[in-house]
């Protein structure tokens, strides 16, 4: 089935990259950066499901990222819950909160939805900043390392593989979803909500599904980052992080799975290159956002695909 091969090549490509990259890089420092890229890719992939496929906007997604991160911090530290269980509970918590907030919020559209999600994200970050008794306040808290069957997940190599394999699975699930009744419903909603309704699609339900799914992806990524860094701060759930996620999704290309990874890679690697000019980070980010939205609105991957499609002609 040629159609299926066309969509599943993405999974294969990502798997190959993950498998081969360690042999191509000189030091484990690069594996650390790669692990960060993989982790952010998972979050951006989830956001892309919501924005690129279902066509809804969320400017507060770091809130869910933060829920995952603080779950694996607070659970072991204050409740004696083992890290792996805290992670699972974090995912469930993010999903539940997304469900509760999503039901009223997803009735909104366009910039109303954008601002509502913005407010949601900032409120979540505010809770992390203020409830210092649990969360360590503005300075954050340390995170106990993940221990599985006696083995401690520590270091760039371990987290490279953990996040890499998880990314491949996340991509697989996303590709599965796209060519399924749910995926078609989401894409239909994006193109015409009205037509979707009269064809029997319960639009409210599917928007909620996309929202919850994207929240769980984000929470997983957040938990991974916290466990990797052994540290979590409220900035993890902050407004700037939400905007970074959206920028990664949009720059890579909304509606493109590969685009999510490209966008995440670009905005993760860039600050690494600019560490010398750390103060210029905001200037660069703002500039990139503006330039891409004016000149390359479709995003990198779809634009390249468009170019390649036209060349034979």
């Amino acid at each position: 089935m040629p159609g299926m091969l066309r969509t599943y090549w993405v999974v294969l490509a990502v798997a190959v990259i993950v498998a081969v990259l360690p042999y191509l890089v000189p030091t484990t420092f690069y594996l650390r950066i790669a692990a960060l890229v993989f982790i952010f890719s998972i979050a951006v992939l989830g956001l892309n499901l919501l924005m690129g496929f279902a066509g809804q906007v969320s400017l507060g997604h770091a809130g869910f990222f933060g829920i995952g991160a603080y779950a694996v911090a607070v659970g072991p530290a204050h409740f004696g819950v083992p890290s792996w269980l805290a992670l699972l509970l974090g995912l469930i918590l993010a999903g539940v909160i997304a469900y509760i907030i999503g039901r009223p919020i997803l009735k909104l559209r366009g910039h109303y939805l954008a601002v509502a999600t913005l407010g949601m994200g900032i409120l979540i970050a505010m809770v992390f900043t203020n409830e210092a008794r649990f969360t360590g306040g503005p300075d954050g808290m340390a995170v106990k390392r993940l221990v599985l069957f006696g083995w401690t997940a520590r270091g760039s190599v371990a987290w490279y593989w953990i996040s890499g394999v998880t990314l491949v699975l996340a991509v697989l699930l996303a590709v599965n979803l796209i060519d399924s009744p749910t995926g078609r419903a989401l894409r239909a909603i994006h193109d015409s909500e009205v037509a979707s309704r009269v064809l029997g699609v319960d639009v409210a339900r599917y928007k909620l599904i996309a929202f919850v799914l994207s929240a769980v992806y984000a929470a997983l990524a957040g938990a991974y980052l916290a466990l990797f860094d052994a540290l979590v701060t409220p900035a993890t759930a902050g407004f700037l992080r939400s905007i970074e996620f959206v920028t990664m999704a949009v720059i890579g290309g909304l509606g493109s799975i590969l685009g999510s990874i490209v966008g995440a890679a670009l905005l993760t690697v860039l600050p690494q290159l600019l560490t010398v000019f750390h103060d210029y980070e905001h200037i660069a980010l703002g500039f990139i956002m503006i330039v891409f939205m004016i000149f390359l609105r479709a995003g990198i991957v779809p634009s390249l695909a468009q170019l390649l499609r036209r060349t034979p002609q």
Partner: protein, 290 residues
Amino acid sequence: MPEFLQFLFSGLTVGAIYALVALGFTLIYNASDVINFAQGEFVMIGGMVTFFAVAAGIPLPLAALIALVSAVIIGVLLHVLAIEPAKGASPVTLIIITIGASIFLRGVAAVVFDKNFHSYPPFAGSEPIRVGGATILPQSIIVLLGTLAIVVALWALMTRTLIGKGMVATATNRLAARLVGINTAAIVGVSFALSAAIGAIGGILVTPITLTNYDVGTLLALKGFAAAMLGGMGHPFGAVVGGLIVGLLETFGAGYISSAYKDAVAFLVILGVLLVMPQGLFGSAGVERV
């Protein structure tokens, strides 16, 4: 009673700034359907440029003027370089552009100036005035009077001048305005310039009370947006009323309930308005025609 009055004065003062930010939002939104997230940055520029000019030895009135002009120039540049080129883009794209502009301006401010908090002496002395058991700073009165003056001036502009009427026409029906010869692109540029000026004046006036910092823009923009939404997106009078209400809710909330979550009030307002009455206090509900 004195406590209540104190909160009232503080709430109105900070609410006046939110009102100015909301007014700026409204002007730009009416002319171009764009939600300008960089609105808060104009307030920041007003305060920061004034401080650094004063620190460089320039007398306060001139420094304030320089700040005002800087903000207006940046507002126009924002329109010409970032908004105009993206004409016809989806609301989300435009939001990302203005957020990008906000982040950009913030980054520039952090580099050109610094990351510290700054202030300069109040205009009419710092001796608090006693009113009914509470005190109010002279600067607060200046803020309130300044806001009132701006609102009146704007109203006069909209109703008495040709440019103002052009703006009202553009806001009502852009195509029709173009068809009768109004240069709508220029009108949008004017709305950006005016918004920048209004925001900058707010920043200039309020810095002696709240201090200024490269980062104040973000929260201000969001709270100003909450105010604009509360008043009804696109209604200038609503924006002002919304700003005062948000300021009062915030101050009373911080005073009587919890000061840690002071900033949350504006967001709760946003969420509340969006979910309960999206058209705001003075707006009208829309109907989608298929």
